[in-house]
Amino acid sequence: MLSRVADSLYWMSRYMERTDGILRMLRINYASSQDDIQEFSWKPVLRIFSYVDEEGATKMAHNTRAVLQYMVTDRENSNSVLNIITRARENARSVQDHITKELWQCLNDFYHTIRDEKLNHDLQREDPISILDILIKQGLLYFGTLDVTMARGEGYAFINIGKYLERGVQSADILDVKFSDMNYDFTKTDTTYWKYLLLSISGYELYLKTYRSGFDAKNVVEQTVLNEDFPRSILYSAGQLHRYFERLKGERNQEAFRHIDFMIGKIKSKVRYSTVESIMAQGLHTYLNGIKDDLYQVGIALNQHYFAYT
């Protein structure tokens, strides 16, 4: 496979995973902003998913419609869903002969949907949940089409490598920002705070089933980092990343493979052999930052050994 094609598939996939993360986060935070909880602020969302400065974030912190517009349809915000989808589509466009026609059409439709002026208008006037749901479903259509139609070749491996690397980074980010927002105070027991955090990463129901004794910050960390069955956990993401990377093993390029395989294996082991206690002992922030760094290093190595074409 052409290096350029692998690169484009990888980024198409990362952008789509990011889109899904942003949309879910917005949807739940919107619900939370309508709930009767103390001091709701959009700041953490803006910190995780955009480059807006402190002043801008403070200004928007309590203006729900402004945040939605900024995060979804703003053309100036390079991390708005509109711009991310545009980039995902540009990547897909340049590899149309490597993804199925259905997948391309699905992404292309997503692009036309999000650029529709009416959608922007409705986002300002109508029920935002309905609008976000339209977009989330368009994303799910992408994931489903990918699963049902794409051949399980090298391209599929790169798509999944991008997806799980992005997801790992995202989960670490979300956890870190949410905890920093309450100064890593593990004694905080505000039930709604944890509930909305878990809802935003689709982990609420699993939490209820796993921990029957109410909300505990430690358990939230445990599930988000260490639960192997939780598809948004860092452990799961690292595992999948490894699984799909292993498919690239072949006759040629063995040295590069071994190098990156070692890096990913190390991340996986690092997470697998952590406990909540060991994480807290070295500090949650330090721990999550370390994981994020390691994941970024994998991205850089992939770029160097597999995607370099210019």
Binding site: M1, L2, S3, R4, V5, A6, R75, E90, R93, S94, Q96, D97, K101, W104, Q105, N108, D109, H112, E154, F158, L248, G250, E251, R252, N253, Y306, F307, A308, Y309, T310
Partner: protein
């Protein structure tokens, strides 16, 4: 309103060949479609038109127009009523094109090797050497199977009495074939059962034939040669076509930056290292192909590719330097080439053409500018063209000044009326002028022409210019089986 009324409102322009009507009776080949349309209401037809637009948009069969830093997706206008060609007409066109391509290919071989045709004075030497597309880099080099033209898109038009004329031979990187394929797909969606009911020949073989031909050109004796399509990239207006062809043939779509030359061989950069490339169907113009040989500023090509080509380590399709054969001034000599190389009379006629480089012909043209269309010999896409009957006196005199600066660069042709075909416009059928571009594929086993092509249509009322850059659209093109 019912569609029978819609047909009644159709009036053929005087002095024009209409593809659907002759003496106000529907021609046999259109009966099936006309009957079908008459069963539909305006609302239904409008819905079909909407559906067509949506399908083009959703499949990304679009080109991007950049304004204020933002890309806007546009679709190439499509008219829902097919253009229909009878079996007899097709047989004639097919034979004519085959004959013409045979001669043009021989001309290219000759002009880059022995130059018999120049020595015998059939084509003036200065005509060839003054052509910017005549490339000395190609001289004395034998291309595989002596094939220069692998893919041709020859433009045909019809005069008031229905005679077909060759308007242009496109032998470099003719585009539009994806529209031939996609327009057919759209018709299948718009009008269920209409195609099989009318005995329309299929066009789907095109990518298979092309792929077979490309594989057969591989210089390396290997079971699975690496064939690629070389595109200038996603910002090219024909990018959709490049990706469609790569997909339909199951080959890699590469950009110049994906390729690298080592020891006069072409390689592509893959995730598993370098992989040798055997055949390149390039959609990059000669000028940009190799910065070491041609335009040194080109970012679209591959440095050193010409040396690999001349060493015979890679096949390039179409051959480099074909522009000398589809030059608008050389065009005049194609009938002479057919007589010279094949000893046959040309089947398809040329449009009478005046060389403005010749003083007497220029004077004749200058005296009757209103009846002429003037074209630059090395431009395409309807750029740099003057239509005498619509131009103002001022435009004409300004254009004359331009011509006098370098008359070799211009030709003139009497304005041909172009046949008309019905188009669906705002609930009515209107005659609009059309041309025809069939696509011919030449391989070691001969010339094959897929029964169909691209019908371009001038959507503006009264316009004779069908180029997409000048407000043209397209139609699905049916060739009927017997």
């Amino acid at each position: 309103m019912h569609t029978s009324e819609l047909l009644n409102s159709y009036t053929v322009d005087p002095g024009t060949w209409d593809e659907m009507y002759s003496d106000l009776a529907v021609r046999g080949q259109y009966k099936g479609v006309v009957d079908f349309m008459q069963q539909m209401s305006i609302e239904e037809l409008n819905k079909k038109e909407e559906l067509a637009k949506r399908l083009f948009m959703s499949q990304g069969i679009t080109f991007t127009v950049y304004s204020s830093g933002e890309g806007i997706e546009k679709i190439f206008p499509f008219d829902i009523i097919p253009r229909i060609i009878t079996a007899a007409e097709w047989k004639y066109i097919e034979e004519g094109i085959r004959q013409r391509l045979k001669a043009l290919n021989l001309f290219l071989k000759d002009v880059y090797t022995n130059q018999f045709i120049l020595k015998d004075g059939i084509v003036p030497v200065e005509m060839v050497y003054s052509c910017p597309h005549y490339l000395r880099e190609m001289h004395g080099f034998h291309v595989p199977h002596d094939l220069y033209v692998h893919i041709a898109g020859i433009d045909l038009i019809r005069d008031h009495d229905g005679t077909f004329y060759i308007l242009e031979d496109n032998l470099r990187t003719p585009s539009g074939v994806s529209y031939m394929l996609e327009n057919r797909e759209i018709t299948k969606r718009l009008f269920p059962d209409l195609l099989p009911g009318n005995n329309v020949r299929s066009v789907t073989e095109y990518p298979n034939i092309l792929h077979r031909n490309l594989v057969s050109l591989s210089p390396r004796q290997t079971a699975h040669p690496t064939v690629v399509v070389l595109t200038p990239g996603i910002y090219n207006s024909a990018y959709f076509e490049h990706t469609t062809l790569a997909r339909l043939m199951g080959v890699e779509l590469v950009e110049g930056r994906d390729l690298v030359i080592d020891n006069h061989r072409v390689y592509m950069k893959t995730t598993a290292g370098l992989q040798q490339v055997d055949v390149i169907y390039r959609r990059v113009d000669d000028e940009f192909l190799d910065p070491l040989v041609f335009n040194p500023d080109s970012m679209l090509g591959v440095a050193g590719i010409m040396s690999a080509y001349r060493k015979g380590n890679v096949a390039i399709v179409n051959a480099v330097g074909n522009g000398v054969a589809d030059d608008k001034a050389i065009y005049t000599y194609v009938p002479a080439m057919i007589r010279y190389y094949l000893n046959e009379e040309p089947i398809l006629k040329n449009v009478p053409t005046y060389q403005l480089g010749h003083a007497d012909e220029r004077e004749h043209v200058f005296a009757s500018m209103q009846k002429m269309v003037i074209k630059k010999t090395n431009e395409s896409g309807g750029y740099g063209m003057l239509m005498g009957h619509t131009a103002s006196d001022e435009e004409i005199s300004r254009y004359k000044m331009e011509i006098l600066k370098d008359p070799r660069q211009y030709i003139a042709q009497p304005i041909i009326n172009l046949s008309s075909a019905p188009c669906y416009m705002n609930g009515k059928l209107k005659p609009r002028r059309i041309d025809l571009r069939p696509y011919a594929l030449c391989g070691p086993d001969g010339i094959q022409i897929v029964p169909g092509g691209l019908t371009r249509v001038a959507l503006r009322e009264g316009s004779l210019v069908v180029n997409s850059s000048q407000g043209g659209g397209s139609k699905d093109t049916w060739v009927l089986a017997g």
